[in-house]
């Protein structure tokens, strides 16, 4: 079903009004108006998403897919509507290809185990990169241990970009799978995933794209990308925690064994033999996160209603403004200076530990993330213990940047 024709007219991007949609932005932290710069870890939620959660429990709550009564049918419709909105959001060909998960991590684990157990053998190579989140490293290491497959890593350059020449050499007839991050959560680098997919497909190698960060910042079109799998989390795209999406091409989802066994995922069960349900339910054992899928749909619609080019321009403006402001501070060092970056800035202050900088910013009401950002191999690559990371979402404004720059200046003075 194509819903693009029914879509609500585009809402112009007006930052003051956008901010009003997110009530939490108006709270205080440590006695100061809060500046929230940790949307790469989890985004805040617009009022409509919270309303959707409450509305679901007030008016629609019942288990899905099995009830003969009206309420269960309505809950099922709302749940499946969340799937359809998601399908439209990533431009998947069919809702059969859109699976609900708990989040990006579960999506990657599902593919590693289900695709891996079916198609990966000893000696086969799995290709990831040096800027992966632990959740796109560990599931493949586990698979490698189980199967005897070998993990290969595309190196990262000093600027924080993938070494594509090295990629060309690492992609060989031994490669059986590529799993790559779309936007680095630590560096902000936007990776050339289309190029990676095209080159991998030339050798019949499927590709998983970790879209945990990109779904918040870029317009996603899984068909244009020709991604075999695309995973992301609801809570990073202004939806609730506990729900995520795994997109998979139908041919793979049909060919792979199911992930977990239980209710929902079966057609018939006898003690001798169980036949599995059709897609997408084959992979969705147990009662799903129904309020989550409903509210995720509302979150994605919220994003789709706003002029996307204007959001991107706004985020790029914040990125540039913050980079300029911070670069005035003596002793600052940026980690990740890729040519194509999303609104994520990682930095270090000379002579100061990220933990110290983060602690002082917290007391000034500024929420940033410090540490290795679950990318320890990347930190080892740069020889640093971690970074301070500020990430900007569509609801941040230039005042937030001003507060950050002033805060980092003050921290620098105190820690020097």
């Amino acid at each position: 079903m194509d819903t693009t024709t029914e879509r609500t007219p585009i809402r112009p991007f007006e930052i003051t009004e956008i901010r009003r949609d997110f009530p939490i932005l108006f709270r205080e932290m440590n006695g100061k108006p809060m500046v929230f710069l940790d949307s790469a870890a989890s985004s805040q939620k617009p009022r409509v998403v919270m309303d959707a959660l409450v509305h679901y429990y007030e008016h629609l709550n019942a288990n899905v897919h099995r009830g003969v009564y009206k309420l269960s049918q309505e809950a099922t419709d709302a749940h499946e509507r969340g799937r359809e909105v998601t399908r439209d959001f990533i431009n998947a060909a069919s809702t059969k290809e859109v699976l609900f998960t708990r989040g990006t991590t579960e999506g990657i684990n599902l593919v590693a185990q289900c695709y891996g157990r079916q198609f990966i053998k000893a000696g086969d190579e799995i290709l990831i990169s040096g800027m992966e989140h632990h959740s796109n490293i560990v599931p493949w290491q586990m698979l490698a241990e189980q199967t005897g497959a070998v993990l290969k890593v595309i190196p990262v350059t000093e600027r924080g970009e993938l070494d594509m020449e090295a990629f060309d050499k690492l992609l060989t007839e031994r490669t059986r799978f590529v799993s790559i991050v779309h936007i680095s959560n630590t560096l902000g680098t936007i990776n050339p995933v289309k190029e990676i997919i095209d080159k991998a497909h030339a050798l019949d190698v499927p590709v998983l794209v970790d879209g945990a960060q990109s779904a918040q910042h870029l317009a996603i079109d899984v068909q244009a990308l020709d991604a075999d799998f695309f995973v992301f989390s609801g809570h990073k795209v202004f939806g609730p925690t506990g729900i995520g999406i795994l997109y998979g091409k139908e041919k793979w989802l049909e060919a792979m064994p199911p992930y977990q066994g239980g209710g929902e995922m079966i057609k018939t069960v006898t003690f001798e033999k169980t036949t599995y349900n059709e897609l997408p339910f084959k992979y969705e054992a147990g009662t799903p996160d129904i309020s989550g899928s409903v509210a995720l749909g509302v979150a994605l619609e919220y994003m789709q209603e706003i002029d996307h080019d204007a959001i991107q321009a706004h985020e790029q403006d914040l990125l540039q403004y913050a980079t300029e402001g911070l670069s005035q501070i003596e002793g600052i060092r940026f980690v990740g200076e890729a040519a194509r970056k999303a609104s994520v800035i990682s930095f270090l202050l000379e002579g100061a530990h990220p933990y110290d900088v983060g602690t002082l910013l917290d007391k000034l009401g500024i929420a940033v993330r410090t540490g290795h950002h679950c990318t320890q191999p990347l930190m080892d690559h740069y020889g640093i213990p971690g970074t301070v990371r500020a990430s900007f979402a569509l609801y941040n404004n230039r005042e937030d940047v001003d507060r950050l720059v002033a805060g980092v200046e003050r921290a620098a003075r105190m820690l020097r």
Binding site: A352, D356, T359
Partner: protein, 139 residues
Amino acid sequence: MDINQIQDEIIDEFAFFEDWMEKYEYIIDLGKNLPLIDPSKKDEDHLIKGCQSQVWLEAKDQDSTIQFTADSDAVITKGIIALLIRVLSGQKAQDIAETELYFIDKIGLREHLSPTRSNGLVSMVKQMKMYALAFQHKS
């Protein structure tokens, strides 16, 4: 002074600070001025690895008391270490093992000793008490 007298002294000192930044300026100063641990002790054996910051701790028994020296790669962590050392170092093993460190809470630094912070401090306090227990049974 016994452990609780020192804890109360620190609580009194912190009462003078008007805001968070003043408090942290003081902690940073403490961190910068903490007597260094013997460099040979800054090794894997003395390392307490946290997710955010790391801590090195050494303990020596001296005339039935325990002397602690420590270090961290983060200066705020180090400042809090300086306070912990001021309270616990040079005290009797039994007192260290049995004490309740209430001053951290009272001066508003509890968050740094929360297990989820993972800055090495929680493990450090545990380690200090373990040393105390071990020395107690040795003597």
